[in-house]
Assembly symmetry: C2
Homo-oligomer: 204 residues x 2
DNA sequence: TTATAAACATGCACTGCTGTATGTATAATT
DNA sequence: AATTATACATACAGCAGTGCATGTTTATAA
């Protein structure tokens, strides 16, 4: 009803993003209208179109705002030893833990996996998703290279192949877990599966 | 423009389903209108609403029509020996091969993974997806049980955990491959990764 | 052979959503 | 203190899509 200060405006914008994130993850992106987002944020559609050009711009801003764990997980805090395999495990666990425990992260990943359609119009989502993923893949691949050089993995292991399998495993577990979180424990199964996969890597 | 015989009607229905499958996998489910489906099939919207109640009914029919490889892959043709692990590998390969090579299967899986939103309204999709998956999981889990009994896998392996990891791996690889098929060879990477995962299972 | 019903085509009314234009009150600027 | 720009609210026009009702033609059954 009134205009407020600049900080208040930023808060409005933030609340709009929060509402969008919630509604998108609950009802899907295309099934959520701008008016519903506005209502959920306690404002009118005018507010949205002031802060964002359109729905796509809103989505892009959502992607910009959240730093996905895929992005975060470069550099894994307590990295005591110089074993790249340990860092790979640590990063993976941290990633999965954040998805299972941080509501914001979970909502966004849920949107990416199950609540949006990868069509041309929402290309920014796909682009953002792939970019972060590819950067992360590149880094983990280097860790595998390092592990092979250190003799922790046999030479017969192709680092690219190793990282593709690992990411497939993690993504697949998250995908299925998000379909029905009560079906199994993400952290539990992921830890076991990753361990097994790495064990398989260590053998020829 | 005219009415034809019963067989022709079934063909019309089939062409509508073909068109829907194509358009859905290309442009997404919600972004494809009934009129576009009708046009692509060379008929008008009236034809669709004659054969299908609405868009959801159309989608349900799509799911009914195609037997996903997940459903098919029970009983793996040339099963010479009695090694359940071999059957597991055989089924997985068959599944993946069908996704990579059969256009119909690929289109439908692409829809399930990337071109629809799992909201309440499209619950039939989710239900169908999960039902087929769960049935298959159950069967493969029994194969793991058998393998453990035969001493081909250590007792420490939990069959449920084993199958969850395997399905996660396969789903994740397919998910990522469908995002960008040129990024890697699905069959190639899947074979390697599955082999590694099973190797990891054989170790404690 | 006639009647009925199937297999569509056509047209209409309704709705939800979008984008924008305009209004308005307040903060920020001078 | 006056002006300007910001941060929204409100109002309007317009479309795209849906669902249905109603034609129209032909198979099919009696």
């Amino acid at each position: 009803m009134v205009r407020r200060t600049k900080e208040d405006a930023l808060e409005t914008r933030s609340e709009l993003l929060d509402a969008a994130e919630r509604l998108f993850s609950e009802k899907g992106v295309t099934n959520t209208s701008m008016m519903q987002v506005a209502e959920a944020a306690g404002v009118t559609r005018g507010a949205i179109y002031h802060h964002f050009k359109n729905k796509l711009d809103l989505i892009e801003s959502l992607m910009e705002r959240v730093r996905l764990p895929v992005d975060e997980m470069r550099g894994c805090g307590e990295q005591v030893d110089d074993n790249p395999l340990h860092e790979i495990v640590c990063r993976s666990k941290q990633f999965i833990h954040q998805v299972e425990n941080d509501p914001n992260t979970q909502a966004l990943v849920s949107i990416l996996f199950h609540k949006c359609e990868y069509i041309d119009d929402v290309l920014p989502i796909k682009v953002h998703h792939l970019r972060g993923r590819n950067e992360c893949i590149e880094e983990v691949q280097q860790l595998f290279v390092k592990a092979i050089k250190q003799g922790r993995l046999p030479d017969s292991v192709d680092p690219r192949s190793a990282v593709l399998g690992l990411f497939g495993l993690i993504d697949g577990l998250m995908y299925n877990w998000l379909l029905d979180p009560s079906f199994f424990s993400l952290t539990g199964e992921a830890n076991i599966a990753i361990k097994r996969y790495l064990t398989g890597l260590e053998q020829g």
